[in-house]
Symmetry: C2
Subunit: 728 residues, 2 copies
């Protein structure tokens, strides 16, 4: 066991060191002119201020939730929860820090050469990617090492605890499972805050900047006279970079721990009649109830992802050393391919060294393939190189209403293949390796997360670099280079988005599966007429209707959550619109370019708005599974989670791709099609893009976390929930 | 048994006679001036032409599907299917006929008095309402009477049939259950065609009329110079009246037959270990396996709805005889209340006369209450008397993009209470009376369908009357009266819409429940480790993943179906826009009012477009459950249906209420708030309304049918589907 944790710990350390090295290699570059320095200073200050403000709110929540966990369960659970949440916050900070260091330096580098600019931007991205992967893996290794006694096969087993000393309030669980769930839950809750808060911030700033700047005053994008323009750039860093990092860190952890938890239950083997368990274990060619096999199954996911990190590092080296100067798109694509192939290769090696057969490997490989498949579908529906987006751009000619309607239709249609792929992957992994196989599939999708995050966060850095170029009034050729930089990340980024959605669905599924194992005594071990579970029984008659009712409520919560997010964005944007109008009204010099507007005030207003608005949706996400579980019991909660999953997966794909298609169709028009800039089609495109923006950047990504958070919270508190509703 | 069928038959006949009488009492009135006659003639001709065109397509589909059923099962199944589809078509025609007779006559009556106009419009509505209720009930009575041998307790039981004579292709089912399912499926398929075809027609015409007329040429609504204006009015009759009638007829039938089918399975009592069945039967205080009790359980739903029809007739009499002249809103509301209370009272009486205890009654009562509850929520979110719509109107001041976004948020939020109500009703009815209790709940929601349909179809008649007033260039005071007429139906209509969604969810649930009983051997009788079902067994390991994968695919199909519908609307609208532009271009006299435009051509283009476009979504709805069932087996299909149900219920509520709120917020602005007509807020409202229109009038209502059709098709073909996927 020490060896495994040691390997994982070393790889994690290497990743973190690489992140530090990347950050340092960014800092080495020049920040450019005084004007550029000033702007970078504003952005960096604004981003720090917001993330600190957010961290304050989070810290309070974390203290409370962690404390509750400590009181209900054990102090170890509390510590694991705090480690998870602190690391998740750290991942957000690391990424945001690197991004705000890299953006201006990328602009400065673009003044000399394209390749140099790419290197700076990409280094910023890799700092984030490696930071995320390293922190997640290192944290898990730390938790397992700290509480190794609880994970040891000699001591692990179903424990009984009397909650708050109340007689009769006995719950049963595996302590180690609760500990790793708490670790994951901590990361999840922070990720939700980051995604929701960052998502509200970035879109509110963007909308307000567009509404007053572009629409009312006809200012071009990123015009320095627009008071909201810096806030808009801050938004990219806190939403697209910070939020993304926390999100993927959390998916990564969730996929690892669900394998571990199912493995523990297989080892303890004490659920229902155990027949299904013995059959399942047989498929893996080992008896997991032997100590060596137990350790292998528990820690194999950590070895798989360690291989992913090593592969990603090699791919980075390839990208850095490549000689190409201008045509970097194939280099980035090749880098991603190298990372994927090496990850699969190292996983095969690990499996070969392990006592199990190749079942975990095949499941993991299918996960990798599904992720890539979903990524390509996203690209097809949202890239202006393909028909759907081009036709959408054409429909903009008929006005904004038709454009929005058609954009919604594109988004809805885009759910076809991803859902089929997810469904097929689920059935096949289950056939091959049971619930554990599905969990390995989720792991596969996330195994080279370092690469995905790096490419994804490189985009906002390039975007910011463009903004800084315009705001600093540099030569237009610089902006052209940074725009080209932004564009080449698009293809790889689309694949990355597909991974994020697919992996969220899979990770949530694996968590729900783990919940079913631990809470409902496994979906596979239901007996008639009563369901025996850890000493209690439940009337099976009520189960069907509770599950279905739970599903409908779960499906609904997804929509209510989305509604709250959309409202938060427009409320925050509204505050900012008033502020921008006030500045222009009270100080006409701004419009003439004689005075700089009060950027800081805009940043503060958005920050406090976003922080305030993120509380309600987060409370909904955290609270509803607890309420459903406590009042209506475990079966209703199982239905609730599945309903939310179904509803959220389809809605998230719809939101991401509808928004993406609307945005890119607008850009396609701007490139000169159907009348080009300032045509009617363009005006319709601007409206459609504004509608699509909160869908793709706030709702979609937050839904990814919503389902994972609700699942992991359910898993964590499962043992406290009654089997049947309290009123029955 | 004869007595029950006789009572139901007599009540059905009374309803149909009342529909005839209502139609006659409409025809008695004058059609008005020559210009009015001409316009009515156009609308009536256009509506007839479209519905006949549609009927042709439907007839072919019906012949084929019926023939397949005859070959696979028995000729009786084919006949039942045809009866169902013919009656559904007839219901659409009866309503459309009455509506196109009533619209102009309402305008004419409005020239003399408000009360008289209301009477004419409401008579048109009642013709539809009673026609729907009478035809549905009469058809079912006919089917049961025709094939009484198959329903008789002496002969009913699980039959085995060899499909197409292929050795080994044996299926097991209850013949009578297949017969009533086929009756319901016939009605469903026609309803889907009517809703989809009518929905595409009405919105395509509306969009095209608005896009060219209002936006490009600044013509007012219903301006006779607009070539699309008649097509727009035709659309109201074929979509809002014809489609609605077929839709509710189908819900009504589905809710009756699901009680009957579950009753039959309880009687045959041959599923699983039967333990659950005996427990369930005990709750009803009778042994359903006695012959008298069997007939009571089978036919009690028909008696309940007969009571509903009688109650509705009494409510009509109250409305007709009421002395109020101008303030009719309370009269209509009271009428609905009277219908509801009497229906409940008669149901209590029926229950008291029956050998069962009051369990079916309580479930039915809860259904009534839930329907009313959901109706009030719809009203709260979509009426401009309440905050959500008023705030939405306020947000229109910030432009179209914000308006659309906020409208979506309102729609999403509106799913909160309806889903909670549906979930609670499901759990409670299940607790009280098992699956049969849930089926009785669905029946309760639909028991006074005659009233709901009457009030709902009265709206489009009044709307058309307004159109005719403007097109005939009558005195503005006439339009004011007809507009007031339209407005007072709104509150009752909102409640009606709630009933439609709630009942669709419940009816689909009851059908899915019936499917589970008949196909999966009851969700409650799962044994470990293998599931015994009619002689075959299935490995329980694969079930979980198949069900989940089915759910995700089901959830996705809902979105793909919606996407197809939206595209169909915009494609058809596009054809029409080109035609309108052509007419104005080639004949400038139209704009000056010197020549009448070619209305007919617009009508024909929309009709052929809508007919062509309705094929793809209908094929999707009919085909996917068959494909999933045949290839992936019964468990995957069960998941598929549940996933589609969850996804469709929430999406349908969202679409209906988002569209309703956007529309009414626009009207609120037109009433003079936030700048009134021609303000910026109004322009934003027009765009938002255009986005919301296909959501509320095409997608939402079609989703209601989609889930019922997919469920009933699954129920019908269930016996043909393998237990496990063919590849396993």
């Amino acid at each position: 066991m020490g060896v495994f944790v040691g390997v994982a710990g070393l790889v994690a350390m290497a990743a973190v060191l690489w992140a530090a090295y990347s950050t340092w290699s960014v800092v080495r570059h020049s920040q450019g002119t005084d004007r550029m320095k000033e702007i970078q200073h504003y952005i960096r200050d604004g981003a720090y201020a917001f993330m600190l403000e957010e961290a304050r709110v989070m810290a309070i929540s974390m203290l409370i939730v962690g404390g509750v966990l400590g009181i209900l369960f054990y102090w170890e659970v509390m510590v694991a929860f705090w480690i998870g949440s602190i690391l998740s916050m750290a991942a957000g900070f690391v990424g945001m820090n690197a991004a705000t260091l890299a953006n201006g330096r990328t602009t400065e580098a673009a003044r000399s050469s394209f390749k140099k600019a790419l290197n700076v931007a990409f280094s910023g991205g890799t700092a984030m990617g490696m930071g995320v992967a390293g922190l997640a893996l290192g944290g898990l290794a730390l938790v397992i090492w700290l509480f190794r006694g609880d994970f040891a096969p000699e001591t692990i087993g179903i424990e009984t605890k009397t909650i708050l000393g109340i007689p009769g309030a006995d719950v049963n669980f595996i302590k180690a499972a609760i500990i790793v769930s708490a670790y994951s839950a901590g990361a999840s809750l922070v990720a939700l805050f980051d995604r929701v808060g960052g998502g509200i911030y970035t879109k509110a700033a963007d909308m307000a900047a567009d509404m007053v700047g572009k629409v009312e005053l006809q200012l071009p994008e990123d015009d320095p006279r627009n008071p909201a323009t810096i806030a808009d750039n801050v938004g990219d860093n806190v939403g697209d970079v910070g939020g993304l990092g926390a999100d993927l860190l959390e998916s990564f952890i969730a996929s690892i721990i669900s394998v571990a938890i199912i493995g523990m239950y297989l080892y303890v083997g004490d659920i229902g009649e155990g027949e299904g368990i013995r059959q399942l274990i047989a498929r893996y060619g080992v008896d997991i109830q032997e100590i060596t096999s137990y350790w292998w199954m528990l820690l194999m996911p950590m070895l798989y992802v360690s291989g992913g990190i090593v592969s990603t590092l090699i791919a980075f080296a390839y990208i850095r050393l490549s000689r190409a100067q201008e045509n970097m798109q194939p280099v980035l694509m090749n880098g991603t391919r190298i990372a994927a192939v090496l990850t699969v290769g190292l996983a095969a090696l690990t499996t070969w060294l392990s006592p199990t057969n190749f079942v975990p490997f095949w499941c993991m490989l299918l996960g990798v393939a599904s992720g890539i498949g979903i990524g390509f579908v996203s690209e097809y529906f949202t890239s202006s190189s393909y028909k759907p987006t081009q036709q959408l751009a054409e429909s903009y000619q008929s006005g904004a209403a038709v454009g929005v309607t058609e954009g919604m239709a594109v988004g809805m249609m885009s759910s076809l293949w991803p859902c089929l792929i997810i469904g097929a992957a689920m059935v096949i992994t289950y056939q091959v390796g049971g619930l554990l196989g599905t969990a390995f599939g989720a792991l596969g999708m996330l195994s080279f997360v370092g690469m995905t995050v790096s490419v994804d966060s490189y985009g906002p850095i390039a975007d910011n670099a463009s903004g800084i170029a315009t705001m600093s009034e540099l030569d237009p050729s610089v902006r052209e280079r940074t725009d080209a930089l932004d564009a080449i990340g698009n293809t790889t980024a689309a694949i990355g988005k597909g991974f994020a959605i697919g992996s969220a669905a899979f990770a949530a599924l694996a968590l729900i599966a783990a919940y079913l194992w631990s809470a409902v005594g496994a979906a596979v071990d239901v007996t008639v007429p009563n369901i025996p579970l850890i000493g209690r029984t439940v009337d099976h008659h009520e189960v069907g209707s509770l599950v279905l009712a739970g599903m409908i409520v779960g499906g609904m919560v997804t929509y209510v959550f989305s509604s709250l997010l959309i409202r938060s964005v427009s409320r925050t944007a509204n505050l900012m619109v008033q502020e921008i109008r006030r500045q222009f009204r009270e100080n006409p010099d701004i419009m003439e370019g004689k005075t700089t507007p009060d950027y800081k005030r805009c940043i503060t207003i958005t920050a406090s708005g976003a922080t305030r608005q993120m509380v309600k949706p987060s409370a909904l996400a955290l609270g509803t599974p607890l309420v459903v579980g406590l009042i209506f019991g475990r079966f209703a909660l199982a239905g609730f989670l599945v309903g939310a999953l179904i509803s959220a997966v389809v809605l998230a794909i719809y939101c991401a791709n509808a928004g993406g298609a609307m945005d890119n169709a607008k850009k396609y028009v701007e490139e000169g099609h159907f009348g080009g800039k300032n045509s009617e089609a363009h005006a319709a495109g601007v409206t459609a893009d504004t509608v699509g923006d909160p869908l793709k950047d706030t709702v979609g990504p937050s839904l990814d976390i919503l389902i994972k958070l609700m699942s992991v919270v359910s898993l964590l508190f499962a043992s406290l929930f009654p089997l049947s509703p309290f009123f029955m």
